[in-house]
Amino acid sequence: MKTSDYQQGRNIIAGVSLLIASFVILKTLYQFSDYVIPGMSYLYNMYSGNIAPNVITVILFDFRGYDTLGETFILITAVITTTVVFGWGSLKGFKKRETPEMTDKSTVIQRLMAFPLAILLVAFGVTIVLGGHITPGGGFPGGSVIATGYFLTVVIYGLKKTPLRFTHRYLVNLSTIGALIFLLSGVLGLVVTTYYYGTGYYLYNTGVDPYDIIHVGAFGWDNFLDYPDPTHPGILPYLNIGVGLNVLAGLSLIAMFLMEARKDE
């Protein structure tokens, strides 16, 4: 298949997807009042404390899930802006520029310690991500700590000699996968609540019903999604994992582009 044929097929799929999405959004907006069941909100407010493991996660992910989704995409926008301003042409495989001279000035102690420290920083960041639903932490702080490990190696060894050999494509893929985990977790809530209540709630915390009150966990949904943790946090750890991937990739990309930028630009 020629490249042009491949692009043509992709354009057709994108066009059909856009049409379907537009139709669903317009139909929903037209009959918006019919689609909302106020009782569902009361029910969720009543039992959310039993569903999520603590009040913070109830507020952060259950009540303000859209806010977190928005923050995730703000980060993607920031990465795109940085790419446009500082990394112009880098994604198309242009020749990499030399790193600034500051990397040649690192001392022996810095070179000896930076990489082991970076591995430990990465591990600590992952620990923060995985405890986000039961401790202060989560995807954003954890992802930032992991990206700090990358900053450290890039600053000490320089972009060409850094042991953490992230590439543009790898980081873009990681960021996209992280955002997709968040988006698809929301779609699961939409599907399950549509099945049970006739109306869909995006980012509804499915897979959790420890007291079998609202009967969301039929057909093994709760077993399928249940994080192996008796607090039954449902999709919350997966949202954290997605946000963590997104943040670590986004911040690392920004660091990479800033290091590649010339001083005179």
Binding site: F115, P116, A123, G131, T135, P228, I241
Partner: protein, 92 residues
């Protein structure tokens, strides 16, 4: 803390270990192991064990073995293991 953790039932959980390994493998896949002196492997492992012991049950998960509580951050250590596993796989 330990009694609270036991009361919550946060003992012997596989979630942090599993996802720590996955995260470690994802990030470790891009590590160039040639840059790392082989003598540093055991040093990093020992240091990570010490840090995991210092972190204790953070993030509130713990393992019980023969009725004894092990104060060890398994998410931290499994991530370091994941990075090393990924580096070894890539070197093969």
């Amino acid at each position: 803390m330990s009694s609270e953790v036991a009361a919550l039932g946060l003992a012997n959980q596989w979630g942090p270990i599993l996802f720590g390994l996955i995260y470690g493998i994802i990030i470790g896949y891009k590590v160039n192991s040639e840059e790392l002196n082989k003598a540093k492997y055991p040093v990093i492992l020992i240091v990570s064990i010490l840090i995991a012991m210092a972190l204790g049950t953070y993030p509130d998960y713990q393992w019980t073995l023969f009725g004894h509580i092990i104060r060890f951050s398994e998410a931290f250590f499994s991530t370091v293991l994941g990075v090393f596993i990924s580096m070894i796989i890539r070197r093969q």
